[in-house]
């Protein structure tokens, strides 16, 4: 049987980071990725049908796309639909590249606010890894943000905030509220052989310029050059274990439907918080009857997705928010930290976001109304180029009722059992979102909006998949140790957002890759002590 030292499942954000570092350190690495290499030439940005394609082939929902490499996610019992992408680069292919960090309090919600759980590490411990991954991905931003502790500046200057960002920044200046040019993993200048942003405004359907960071352009080419093997169209069905309870490798199926087994000393899971939980649950065996690493029963539980609301402001003047990067023009942390007088704990981060082209004006995907017949043109003219949106990410408190399970009778195109998610917005989240909707409305009115609309919860907003294999120091209350290693199976390590004990209220990719790099460095440093099945 084929054997490798390290087997990685998933070639997305965390898998790419780990592969690059491990290959550089001289490890023999094989990565199995169910999707394929993205073809930048196929991205729809410049086509006249761009917005139409964005609603299907380039949707973030695997259920909407329905590609052979996608797996279905049964979400009928969920308030929010899960979004992801299968391919080299993973969900980074379709993410917005908003690149904030968690704040210090996010690591200590139990100590500070009596909710959630403290992380087994703090901001200061993760900061050096944030700085390394910022450089590797080419983050554009501006240092000195008083919402965060001091640290190294991002490697590139911030992207333009545009007319919409300037208008709202001036409003926050008058209100005395926090704002800052947003950090984005999008190049504001040529960097390490990649082109600067061409401002297509289509980041979430694939960046045709390669300026948006995703590991297919930032990590995999170097990882492969250093010896890592990347196998696409390879879908892992289960992790294999021996009688000693150690992982021996994995079973997978290739794009032609042929089944294989591959042996490995160490298995790294980087398949997102739904895919990794699904794989652990699907790896049940007589020794691990409830799934691999699941002696606590916590695998799949505590799913967090960041409940997402948005407020739209209409302006008399053109603000042309559809030009430029999508992630965030500016951000505000004014209402991020807990203020118990508001009636809820924790808070939200706001990102000022574009509102799309004419089809999105006619058929809003976020807040906004559709008008047909008389009044249609007036509505589209009012929306197109004259609106901007505050995207509100609220902190999601962990709840064991919110979970990933195996869906009875549902499989992917290879016959592998598919996941089901249950997710309900809790009372704290609802109060938190309502408060922030009111405040974001106040912001846009101060900025000159003559009309505002809001969406109190956007169903297709489950980009941030977190928490289904939480890390911790106590094997009785956590699935992995502080470096992502399963307490139950010490040669399996979880690298993705599954390990988050709490969610914070920021886009998680920068934290996911910083944690993945930290876990990988730990693996490299402790290679001689690593238990294996061999």
């Amino acid at each position: 049987m084929e054997h490798t030292e390290v087997l990685i499942v998933g070639a997305g954000a965390s898998g790419g980071v780990a592969a690059g570092r491990l290959a550089e350190a001289g490890f023999q690495v094989v990565c199995l990725e169910q999707g394929h290499w993205p073809d930048r030439g196929s991205y729809p940005a410049a086509r006249p049908t761009y917005e139409l394609e964005a609603r299907r082939r380039w949707s973030g929902s695997p259920n909407v796309r329905g590609l052979a490499e996608d797996y279905p996610v049964e979400d009928s019992a969920s308030d929010v639909a899960a979004l992801m992408y299968a391919g080299v680069g993973g969900s980074m292919i379709l993410y917005a590249a908003d690149w904030p960090r968690l704040l210090p309090s996010d690591f200590r919600t139990r100590t500070l606010d009596g909710v959630g759980d403290d992380w087994p590490l703090n901001y200061a411990e993760l900061a050096p890894f944030y700085e390394r991954t910022d450089r590797a991905f080419g983050v554009a931003g501006l240092g000195g943000n008083p919402a965060l502790p001091d640290g190294a500046d991002p490697p590139l200057p911030p992207l333009p905030i545009g007319a919409s960002g300037l208008r709202v920044a001036r409003a926050h200046d008058r209100l005395g509220w926090h704002w800052w040019p947003a950090p984005n993993a999008v190049l504001s200048a040529p960097y390490r052989g990649r082109n600067a942003c061409a401002q297509y405004g289509a980041c979430m359907q694939g960046c045709p310029e390669g300026a948006k960071a995703s590991t297919d352009v930032t990590h995999w080419p170097e990882a492969i050059a250093a010896g890592a093997q990347l196998r696409t169209g390879a879908r892992v069905s289960r992790i294999l274990t021996n009688s000693a309870g150690l992982a021996t490798g994995a079973e997978y199926v290739d794009a032609d439907g042929r089944w294989h087994n591959i042996g490995a000393d160490v298995v790294l899971l980087a398949a997102n918080a739904i895919g990794t939980a699904r794989l652990l649950l699907n790896s049940a065996s007589p020794r691990f009857p409830d799934g691999l690493g699941n002696s606590t029963g916590l695998v799949g539980k505590r799913l967090m997705v960041h409940p997402f609301a948005n407020v739209l402001g209409y302006f008399d003047d053109r603000v042309d928010s559809y030009i430029g990067h999508v992630g965030a023009k500016i951000v505000s942390y004014e209402f991020y930290e807990t203020d118990t007088s508001r009636g809820f704990t924790r808070g939200a981060k706001w990102s000022l976001a574009p509102t799309g082209g004419p089809l999105t004006s006619a058929l809003p995907t976020r807040a906004g109304t559709s008008t047909w017949g008389s009044g249609h043109h007036a509505q589209v003219r009012a929306h197109l180029g004259r609106t901007v949106s505050w995207a509100i990410f609220g902190e999601d408190l962990p709840d064991e009722e919110n979970r990933v399970e195996i869906a009875p009778g549902l499989t992917d195109s290879s016959g592998i059992p598919a996941p089901k998610i249950r997710y309900r917005v809790g009372e704290n989240s609802r109060a938190l979102l309502d408060f922030n909707i009111a405040k974001a409305t106040e912001s846009l009115v101060e900025a000159g909006a003559y009309r505002t609309e809001y969406e109190s919860l956007m169903r297709y907003s489950g980009w941030h998949l977190l928490g289904t294999a939480r890390m911790g120091t106590d094997p009785a209350t956590s699935v992995t140790d502080p470096h992502g290693r399963l307490h139950d199976v010490p040669n399996v390590c979880v690298l993705d957002g599954s390990v988050f004990p709490t969610s914070g209220a920021v886009n998680p990719t920068s934290t996911i890759v910083a944690l993945a790099l930290r876990a990988t460095e730990h693996l490299v440093a402790n290679r001689r002590d690593q238990r294996t099945a061999a």
Binding site: A46, E51, P158, H178, P181, A362, G373
Partner: protein, 138 residues
């Protein structure tokens, strides 16, 4: 999928009911929403063809207003596909885009070297002067 002549004839008045000539903008049928633009739409979104076919079967021969109301009530998926096909074809047309001042998602070089107005106006200085807003935590 290739749309039949019958489906195109059925679609034209429905499209104009949704997007009429008004406010200096052409009607949907005037820019070929039931003709060349429909072919463009179905090329990019073949999934819509099935639903349009069902909408046609359900509402052929009744007035546009009644057809739209019937679809919304009896087959929301087909109704949604109709809206997507009509608006998708309309807003992909160059004449419509020109009238709206929308050039599409086109490349525009980024110029970070331009000195941002928010700096010249001192907006960030005042954010910094207000001091840290995060809660320290060890």
């Amino acid at each position: 999928m290739t749309a039949t002549l019958e489906l195109r004839d059925w679609l034209r008045p429905l499209a104009d009911a949704l997007i009429p000539a008004d406010d200096g903008m052409p009607a949907a049928s005037a820019v070929g929403v039931a003709d060349a633009q429909l072919d463009l739409v179905l090329g990019a979104r073949p999934d819509l063809g099935r639903h349009l076919g069902r909408a046609f079967a359900l509402t052929a021969g009744i007035s546009p207003a009644e057809a739209l109301a019937t679809l919304a009530e009896l087959d929301p998926t087909a109704h949604g596909a109709l809206l997507e096909a009509v608006a998708g074809g309309y807003y992909a047309h160059p004449q419509v885009r020109e009238l709206l001042g929308y050039a599409g998602q086109q490349p525009v070089p980024v110029r970070p070297e331009d000195y941002p107005e928010y700096l010249t106006e001192g907006l960030l200085e005042r954010v910094v002067e207000r001091g840290p807003i995060y809660r320290p935590a060890d």
